[in-house]
Structures are given as structure tokens and as C-alpha cells.
């Protein structure tokens, strides 16, 4: 009996924390805007960051504990935080990837079976094929990511005498563009392969169910109007033809 009660209380507490979390994510943006004194998030001004790391400043503007990384080392985590913040910045349209926990998502993914290549064929010989033959390296996603981060940091060190996460937002965007357009050749990992992995994981973390650690408070779902997983539309599909269906999104965790 008492166990049952405790369970109920626990669930309620979890739901409450989630509401607080969602509220925090929602209020963090206006707060940052107010501090920046402009229409956009402080990070989009292209000014040097006032604190040692731009990513750190974003994180510290939110009243949340700094994330604990299970897989990435401190340098890698700083890179990923800065990279996802550049790919999907926080702005008036919606939350950024960093504030939605995408760096944590990527950390969890890289440390999981996915990151370790548990569904990939990784037997040799390894021969470079045609683009139509697809991925042909022996590296797992986590190995690719770690080597790619080291490659990019070395490139940034040479060009800017600092690491990627220390760059101004404008310089970070310029480096990401170099990677996207394959303007720079990385020594270990093919530039395109690294960029596409970083890009894909950022999108996955931003849009997937919050149960995986990203998309905190269902921020991206609210932004695009995706109602989430509690999806019963048999009585709505006809009624809402050509009418926007809007509802508070539900995640997997919300229903458990």
C-alpha cells in the first residue's frame, strides 16, 4: 500500500519536474534575448564571448545543472556543444539544439550500441568504393566522431590558434560551412563523412522523443506543431482536413 503511494508520488514528482523543465526551456530564450538587448539570441551577434566558452555561456544562462557526459571527454563535449549550437541556434523562431539537450543526446548515442557500430558490417578488407556503394570505412560512429573532432580542432588551431568551441559564433559558422562544403580536407576522417554524421545526429537529437535525452520539453515538436506519440486520429482525420490541428505534444515519458 505504502509502496503504491510512493510510486504515485514519484510519478507526480517526475511529471512536475518535467513541467518545470519545459517551463525553463521556454523562458530561457526570452531571458537570453533580454540580456542580449536585441531581437536575437546573444550568440548570434558575432561578438567574442564574454566567458571562456561561448557554449558555456549559453549553458550557464539556463538555471540548469551542467550536463554530465558519459562518453565524450571535456574537449569533445565542448566541441559538440558549440557545434550543435551553431547548427541549430536559439532564436525567436524556436529553441536551439544546445538548450534542448542535443549534446547530451549525442553523448548517449555515441556511447550506445549505435555508436559502437553494433548493427554495422565492419569486416575487411576495407576498400574505397564508389559513392553508390556507401560507407566503406572500418570506424564506428563514435570513432568517427572522436577522430573528426580532433581533426577539426587541429584545423581550427592552425587557422585561429584556438579550439572550435572558443571561436566567435561567426567564426564557428564559417568553420561549419567549410566542413559542409568540403572546403577543408581533414587528415583522418573524410570531411563530408564527419559533417554528415554531426549533422544527422544533431537533427536526430533535436527532433527525436525526449526519452533519448534531446528535444527537452518537446521544444522542437512544439515549434513545428508535431503532436507527438499519443496519436489517435481516427476521429480527427476528416474533421481536420485543411484545418491546423494543434495540441500540447505528448512524449513517451509523459504516458508512462
Amino acid at each position: 500500500m505504502s509502496d503504491e503511494k510512493r510510486e504515485v508520488r514519484l510519478v507526480n514528482r517526475r511529471a512536475l519536474l518535467q513541467l518545470v523543465g519545459a517551463g525553463t526551456a521556454a523562458t530561457a530564450v526570452p531571458l537570453a534575448v533580454a540580456q542580449g538587448g536585441a531581437a536575437n539570441h546573444a550568440d548570434s551577434h558575432g561578438q567574442p564571448a564574454p566567458t571562456p566558452t561561448a557554449a558555456g555561456s549559453t549553458a550557464s544562462s539556463q538555471p540548469q545543472a551542467k550536463p554530465t557526459y558519459l562518453f565524450l571527454n571535456a574537449n569533445e563535449a565542448a566541441f559538440i556543444e558549440a557545434a550543435v549550437d551553431t547548427l541549430i541556434p536559439s532564436d525567436e523562431v524556436g529553441p536551439g539544439a544546445l538548450e534542448l539537450g542535443v549534446a547530451v543526446f549525442i553523448d548517449r548515442q555515441l556511447g550506445s550500441g549505435y555508436g559502437r557500430g553494433d548493427r554495422l558490417y565492419l569486416q575487411g578488407p576495407f576498400i574505397e568504393g564508389t559513392p553508390e556503394q556507401g560507407y566503406q570505412m572500418r570506424m564506428t560512429p563514435s570513432e568517427l566522431m572522436q577522430a573528426g573532432i580532433a581533426d577539426v580542432n587541429a584545423h581550427v588551431q592552425e587557422k585561429f590558434q584556438t579550439t572550435f568551441d572558443q571561436l566567435s559564433p561567426a567564426d564557428r559558422a564559417a568553420v561549419i560551412t567549410e566542413l559542409e562544403t568540403r572546403k577543408v580536407t581533414l587528415p583522418t576522417v573524410p570531411t563530408g563523412t564527419f559533417f554528415e554524421l554531426l549533422y544527422e545526429l544533431t537533427m536526430h537529437g533535436y527532433f527525436s522523443d525526449p526519452i533519448h535525452g534531446g528535444n527537452k520539453g518537446k521544444g522542437s515538436w512544439k515549434m513545428v506543431g508535431f503532436p507527438g506519440v499519443s496519436a489517435v486520429y481516427a476521429d480527427k482525420i476528416v474533421e481536420y482536413r485543411n484545418k491546423r490541428y494543434v495540441t500540447e505534444p505528448i512524449s513517451i515519458q509523459d504516458m508512462l
Binding site: 564508389t130 553508390e132 556507401g134 560507407y135 489517435v232
Partner: protein, 590 residues
């Protein structure tokens, strides 16, 4: 030496639709039947319970229910001059894994193929003469026709609770159904699913253009339904988590809750899940199968003797086992002889994206795997091949299947891929884009085939299957012909911007296209061009039968599951009423 187990009557390799139907239909024989499934056992509850099953990352992106390439994959090249390299990541297609096979995570498009689609060679030559068939094209008839299969098509629809509207009831054409379909003996067991907004627009535009649109036959049950076997299907919720997912409602017909539990009523039926069949064993003459060798979950190698072996794996598994077990003559490209691995084909997906104004709302998250409106006016042999310059055609459709945003984050052309501009574009576009798609037939060619790879091995030590495939001129012309038609429909629907999705390029194994692979163990009347006779029996080893889309001589412009299920019911009839009474070759080799 592997441990030899006590013999059984029948071994079935692969427990999806095909294997499940055979096991269920043979249940009342009381024979000892063992079904081997390489993947895990599965039940709707708890494996497909909501909300956990509505996890886009896990099922749609990471393909939890599909084949694990770490264990086995294939190698691929575009043409025989290249070195084939392994498919290291899943991409182009997603073969199923686990009890239910791909039937547990399919979309549910449940077709009867058109009469012509069973007789593509004779039907084409009768109209256009032999000269229309290119020299490298292996155009071939099925050894049976639509009418031989009609009652089995009918049975399979009723088992699946298929939702649709007949267009040809005993020869009477019915407006609103597919008027091009072969005559049906009965209406669909369930009424069509409800249409989404884009389908309403598509239907109107197609009708105004003089075409004949109809609801796609969907094995997503439009209402609560009890099938003739007494199995209950729930009503579809239009939840939008269908293709790639299990269905918590049992609204999407799947063998794991329909035929397989009924097969288990046979006290002598046994499922061995997590068991990988490595080889069919032949006797010293090479003319008779004596059983199979398999690895159990722990990796112990075991030998299961059996009187009859039925290969009911996916296309690649069936062909691989035939080649590795040396059943039938392997296809040799250089000499253009042999049959096992010959005539691999695929399907050509194309069409246009249609971007609408900001006042149009599609609510893309309301949908199901097979929810769509379709027309066949350019499919089958409805195109004038002589004038168009190609053989075959495509279905043209618009549907509403999923709004889950990892997969759906559309932006107008010219938008950056990231940053604030990208984000705003996704928000502005998410509700307002739909598509008009083509699903095109693909013919078989000498240069598109399956054989064993000389270099790479699977985790069990067997050579990998090698896939040699590329798009050919016939299929490019088909796309060139059909894309403008899609564009016209999209414009008529009211789209502001229409973007063609397909261009002439080599086939790539990288992006997902479709899991509609066919061929490699073709059935036919001529042992020089078919691995199986018309009863799906190996010409060479008469106690081996093969079932699945590996038996199709080429692919049509629609999904394969309908004829695969119908052929499985027919094979069960053949076994029960003919073969098991007198186990021998059912067709003598001329």
C-alpha cells in the same frame, strides 16, 4: 560435427508471411513442422506496446525490426566490371528480422497484381511484337495467371482485413475502385480508410484529368474486424507510426498475431527463434535434401533432418541458401546460363514534392502506412509501350503516412541546411507540403543478378551474397514519362511549387528507396530460365520449395505482399493435396 537432432517432417526457413501461412495451413495435417527464424520471438504485447513503440529514432531511423548487418549483409556493385563492396549500413531496403519478418513492420499496401502483371512477356509481345523487348531484358511470364490465384488473393485479403473498394466485381467495373484490376469474386472485407486532405485534393485533380483514382487497398483495418480464422484486428488509429513500426492495435495485419499463433495449434509445430539456418543439406546424389544445418542462439551448430524443406526467407535469404547449398544451377553472367540468382529486380520510386500556400494544412502526422489514393492509368500495360518507348508502368499516388519530424523536416529549394534560416523554413513548411509519388515496375536484365561474393564473408563464415544492379534505360524512360504527369496533378491540386525528385543517376545502395526486391529463384515453365517449376518446387531438388518475392520473374509497379501471400496459400494447397500424398517432382523436366 554438428549434433544431429531427431528428424521432422517439414522444415520452414523464415517465419514471416510466407512461412507463417504455410505452417498455419498445414497445421491440421499434424505433421512435425519446425519453423526457423533468424531473429527474436515477438508478440504485440509487450513488444509493440504503446507508447514505447512510437519511437521514431528507434524504429524508423535505427531500424530496430530490420536485419542486423553485423551478422549478415550483401555486397553491391552497379555493374559486373566493378568490385562489389559490402553494404555496411542499412539503406536502400530493410529486410525484416524476427518472428513476423517484414510483415511485422510493413506499411500494409495489399495488392492483387493486374492480370497483365502475371503475363508480362506474352501480354507485351501479343500487342507490340517481340522486337519491343530489348536484348538484355529477361522478360518472362508467370507460369500461372491471375485466375489461378484469385481465390488465394481473396483468402489473403480476408485474413488481413484489407480495407478497400472493389473496381471489378466478377467483371462488373465499379467507379471509385480500381477499374483496371482483374475480376474479383468478392468485395474487400473492410471499407476504405478515411481520406486525408491531400488525398481529397489528389482524387479531385486525378478525376478532372480523366484518370481513375481509388483508395489504396490497405491492410490497416478501417474498423474492428474478426477474420475468417477468428482472429480479431483492432481499428486503425491513423497514428502515423506504421511503416517500420509494430502496431499496438493489431490493426496492421501481421503474421505474428494472425497465422503464426494458429500454426501453433498443431502440437507438433515448433518455432525455433534466434536460429540461423546456414545451409540446406543434400544427400550424396545432390538431388535430395536431407535437412538443414543451423546455429542456435548460443552458436551451437545443429543438424535438423527433414523430409521436406521450404525456403520462406526474404529474397536475399532464399537466393543465398540456394546458392550456398548448391541447389539448382547458379547464374553465370559471362555465359548467360544458369538460373539461381538470375533476374533480380527492384522498384523505381519517383514523383514530385508539392509545396502549398500557408493556408493549406495537411496534418501529416494523421495517417497510416497504406493510407493513400492511387491511380493505375499509367500502370500495368495501360501505357502504349510502342509510343512511350518503354515496357511497364507505375502507380501514381498521394498518401498520408507519417509526420514524425526526424523524417519530415521539409524546406523549400535553396534553403540552407542549418542555422536560423533553415529552422524558420522548416516551421513554415512542415504543414504545407505533400507529394505525388510514382511506384514503378522494374524489369529484369542479364546484367542485374545475384551470386556469391568471392571476397567477403558473413559472421557465420559463409560467402556473402553479391548484388549487381543498376537502373536501365527502360526505367529511365518510364520516369521521364511519368514525372510530368505527377507535376500536372500536383499543380491541379493547387501547389505553388512542384519539385521533381528523380533524375537520371546510377542506382545507389545508400538512401532508403523501397523493400520491394524481387527475383533470383524465379518460377516458370522452362528450367533454362527458372529455378522453380510452377508449383514453386526446385527443378533439381524436388523436396525443396521456395516461396516469397524471389520467385517473381520481374517486378510490377506495386507492392509485392499480396501475391506473396496468395502464392503461399497456393503452395500450402499444393503440398496438402498433391505433394505430401506422393512426394515427387510435380512437373517432369522435358
Amino acid at each position: 560435427m554438428p549434433t544431429k537432432l531427431p528428424p521432422v517432417d517439414i522444415v520452414i526457413v523464415g517465419l514471416g508471411w510466407s512461412g507463417g501461412i504455410i505452417a498455419k495451413e498445414l497445421a491440421d495435417t499434424g505433421l512435425k513442422i519446425v519453423a526457423f527464424e533468424r531473429g527474436a520471438p515477438r508478440a504485440t504485447d509487450p513488444d509493440f506496446r504503446a507508447p514505447q513503440v512510437h519511437d521514431e529514432l528507434r524504429y524508423s531511423v535505427r531500424h530496430e525490426l530490420a536485419q542486423n548487418l553485423r551478422k549478415e549483409t550483401l555486397t553491391f556493385r552497379n555493374d559486373p566490371s566493378q568490385q562489389a563492396l559490402p553494404m555496411r549500413r542499412l539503406g536502400s531496403f530493410l529486410p525484416g528480422d524476427g518472428v513476423g519478418g517484414a510483415g511485422a513492420h510493413w506499411s500494409g499496401l495489399h495488392w492483387r497484381w493486374l492480370e497483365w502483371e502475371h503475363k508480362m512477356y506474352s501480354g507485351t509481345v501479343a500487342k507490340y511484337g517481340r522486337k519491343i523487348v530489348p536484348a538484355d531484358m529477361n522478360l518472362q511470364d508467370w507460369p500461372i495467371d491471375y485466375h489461378d490465384l484469385e481465390k488465394y488473393y481473396d483468402t489473403f485479403e480476408k485474413v488481413c482485413g484489407t480495407s478497400g473498394k472493389a473496381g471489378n466485381l466478377r467483371g462488373r467495373k465499379i467507379d471509385g475502385g480500381n477499374i483496371f484490376e482483374g475480376p474479383r469474386t468478392s468485395e474487400f472485407p473492410n471499407p476504405p480508410l478515411n481520406q486525408s486532405h491531400n488525398m481529397v485534393l489528389f482524387e479531385k485533380a486525378a478525376r478532372e484529368s480523366g484518370y481513375h483514382p481509388f483508395p489504396i487497398p490497405a491492410s490497416n483495418s478501417s474498423r474492428a474486424y474478426v477474420n475468417p480464422d477468428g482472429v480479431m484486428l483492432g481499428p486503425c488509429h491513423y497514428c502515423g507510426f506504421c511503416t517500420g513500426y509494430g502496431c499496438e492495435m493489431n490493426a496492421k495485419a501481421s503474421p505474428h498475431f494472425t497465422v503464426i499463433p494458429l500454426a501453433a495449434r498443431n502440437p507438433h509445430f515448433e518455432v525455433r527463434a534466434n536460429s540461423m539456418v546456414l545451409k540446406v543439406n543434400l544427400d550424396s546424389s545432390g538431388k535430395r535434401a536431407v535437412g538443414v544445418t543451423y546455429l542456435d542462439a548460443r552458436g551451437r551448430e545443429l543438424e535438423q533432418p527433414a523430409d521436406l524443406v521450404i525456403l520462406a526467407a526474404y529474397v536475399f535469404g532464399n537466393v543465398h541458401l540456394m546458392l550456398h547449398s548448391k541447389i539448382g544451377k547458379p547464374f553465370d553472367f559471362a555465359s548467360n546460363t544458369g538460373v539461381v540468382g538470375r533476374s533480380y529486380a527492384y522498384q523505381a520510386m519517383g514523383g514530385v514534392s508539392a509545396l502549398f500556400n500557408k493556408d493549406t494544412y495537411f496534418n501529416p502526422f494523421m495517417g497510416s502506412g497504406a493510407l493513400g489514393t492511387w491511380f493505375d492509368d499509367f500502370n500495368g500495360d495501360n501505357v502504349d509501350f510502342g509510343k512511350a518507348g518503354f515496357i511497364g508502368g507505375a502507380g501514381i499516388s498521394s498518401g498520408s503516412n507519417s509526420g514524425a519530424p526526424i523524417g519530415r523536416r521539409p524546406t523549400p529549394p535553396g534553403t540552407p541546411r542549418w542555422g536560423s534560416v533553415w529552422k524558420k523554413a522548416v516551421v513554415d513548411t512542415y504543414q504545407h507540403v505533400t507529394s505525388v509519388g510514382t511506384q514503378g515496375s522494374v524489369m529484369s536484365y542479364r546484367q542485374c543478378y545475384l551470386d556469391l561474393d568471392p571476397t567477403y564473408a558473413d559472421s557465420f563464415g559463409r560467402p556473402l551474397l553479391r548484388l549487381t544492379f543498376d537502373w536501365q534505360e527502360n526505367e529511365f524512360r518510364q520516369a521521364d514519362y511519368l514525372t510530368p504527369i505527377c507535376e500536372q496533378i500536383a499543380r491541379k491540386m493547387g501547389a505553388d511549387q512542384v519539385l521533381a525528385r528523380r533524375r537520371r543517376a546510377r542506382y545507389s545502395i545508400v538512401p532508403y528507396q523501397t523493400t520491394h526486391n524481387t527475383g533470383g529463384t524465379v518460377f516458370g515453365d522452362d528450367p533454362q530460365t527458372s529455378a522453380l517449376n510452377k508449383y514453386l518446387q526446385s527443378w533439381d531438388v524436388s523436396n525443396v520449395f521456395v516461396i516469397g518475392s524471389s520467385v517473381f520473374p520481374q517486378n510490377a509497379g506495386r507492392n509485392p505482399t499480396g501475391p506473396v501471400g496468395a502464392l503461399a496459400y497456393r503452395l500450402a494447397d499444393t503440398l496438402k493435396h498433391t505433394y505430401l500424398k506422393c512426394p515427387a517432382s510435380l512437373v517432369s523436366r522435358a
